[in-house]
């Protein structure tokens, strides 16, 4: 029986990019359906009534929501190829902890930077932003990837944010490479992976999009 896989997503969503990377890693054929996140369609509202957000993976008609939960689902269903998580329970817990850290901290602090007004608010957001990334640098250490020698779950959960770095640096008026060189080096290493390079979105396009979001919030 052929698998029917549909992904409801939005081009700029870092959460959606995680799922696109996972699907590509496993070589899964799927139908990509771009969503209008400002005018949500019935399929999105029906398949994710609780959060009404992308991404949503629909596998043989059954929806799975929340990007990291989707990635784990993909790993468990298509388990014979390219494991996305380690097999050892302790290493899995370690990977889940750091992916959870990215979820809880990176998105929020990034948003604070690009929605901030110049001055105290922005400086406070930037300070927290650098702190979060320095913690991530500490976890990376001297490893090539968070997953060790190979690209893994934590790398997958963080790398889509790279598409947003340029926008955040420009609106925040700072240079992340100066503050957190290891993170930029790690990101460039990940970009050597064809799947990652193909999935990540053009940073200038994201910058324009963030500009639009800021205008909508009356920040421009």
């Amino acid at each position: 029986m052929a698998d029917e896989v549909v992904l409801l997503d939005f081009w700029a969503s870092m959460f959606g990019m995680r799922v696109r990377i996972a699907l590509a890693e496993k070589g899964i054929k799927y139908e990509y359906k771009e969503q209008d996140v400002f005018n949500k369609g019935p399929q999105l509202l029906q398949t994710n009534p609780v959060h009404k957000k992308v991404p949503v993976l629909i596998h043989n008609g059954k929806p799975v929501c929340e990007s990291l939960i989707i990635v784990q689902y993909i790993d468990e269903v298509w388990k014979d190829k390219s494991p996305l998580l380690p097999s050892d329970p302790y290493q899995r817990a370690h990977a889940k902890f750091w992916a959870d850290f990215v979820d809880k901290k990176v998105y929020e602090v990034s948003k604070r930077v690009w929605t901030s007004t110049k001055g105290e608010e922005r400086e406070a957001a930037k300070k927290d932003y650098f702190e979060i990334f320095k913690i991530l640098e500490g976890e990376l250490g001297d490893k090539p990837y968070f997953g060790g020698e190979t690209f893994g779950f934590v790398d997958l959960s963080l790398i889509p944010f790279y598409s947003w770095f340029y926008a955040i640096e420009t609106f925040g008026e700072f240079n992340l490479e100066a503050e957190c060189p290891k993170i930029i080096a790690w990101a460039k290493r990940c970009l050597h992976k064809e799947i990652v390079a193909k999935t990540l979105q053009d940073e200038k396009k994201v910058y324009e999009f963030v500009g639009q979001l800021r205008k909508m919030r009356g920040l421009e």
Binding site: H59, V64, I69, Q72, P89, Y90, A93, H94, D100
Partner: protein
């Protein structure tokens, strides 16, 4: 092989108690260390330098932190009495609802129903009702979220099954009423009576006194 299982926890914390519930359900022996959260021990800071919080499970010297991560680790390491289903779709479903409860039900969320301007309190209450309604609908006719047996979602739901009731008594704000949420109320009754759970609930009067103290300051400033 000698298994050494250590849990750094706090008597009143639902997050800490979740881990104890899972360990008890699976019959795992462990050593418990009560942490003074106002004076965190060097062990806690060493094992959880990032968040500096309980619970921390230390298995053969290796720490695991964040209650939901710990619950999955326990389930993968000790396979008796599974708390997650086998089927990947059902596992994703359980993880979704555990995450929902963890993120959308919190003491902070409940507190918002008793602090601040009336308009904000009403808004917080509406949001709380909306979240409880999602859970009421998800429960359907099941005895537990996990089906016939207690699972990940039920354990994560301890905050609603027990802590919420104590909070309601401490604050005078009723959220989980039988009229609005009959299924969820029945579930809460079943949950707190289950043997592996009831042995792992903090004493009600002690918890009530603590919550009253914490809310007392807020009420006085109104």
């Amino acid at each position: 092989m000698d298994e050494e299982v250590l849990l750094l926890g706090s008597w009143g914390s639902p997050f800490s108690r979740r881990v104890e519930m899972a360990l008890k359900l699976k019959g795992i022996e462990y050593r418990y260390i009560e942490e003074d959260l106002t004076n965190k021990s060097p062990s806690l800071l060493k094992y959880n330098p990032v968040h500096k919080k309980v619970p921390v499970l230390v298995h053969n010297g290796k720490p695991v932190v964040e209650s939901l991560v710990i619950l999955e680790y326990i389930d993968e390491t000790w396979k008796d009495h599974p708390i997650l289903p086998k089927d990947p779709y059902e596992r994703a479903h359980a993880r979704f609802w555990a995450k929902f409860i963890d993120e959308k039900s919190s003491i902070a969320g409940f507190k918002a129903c008793c602090w601040g301007e009336e308009k904000e309190r009403e808004k917080a209450k509406e949001e709380a009702f909306e979240k409880l309604q999602f859970l009421e609908n998800e429960l359907k006719e099941k005895r537990f979220f996990g089906g016939e047996n207690i699972g990940l979602v039920d354990i994560t739901g301890n905050i609603i099954g027990y802590w919420l009731g104590v909070f309601e008594e401490a604050s005078g704000v009723k959220l989980l009423t039988r009229e609005k949420f009959p299924k969820l109320c029945n579930w809460a009754d079943e949950f707190v009576s289950a043997s592996a759970i009831k042995e792992n609930l903090p004493p009600r009067d002690k918890l009530l006194a603590t919550l009253r103290r914490r809310l007392g300051g807020a009420n006085a400033s109104k």
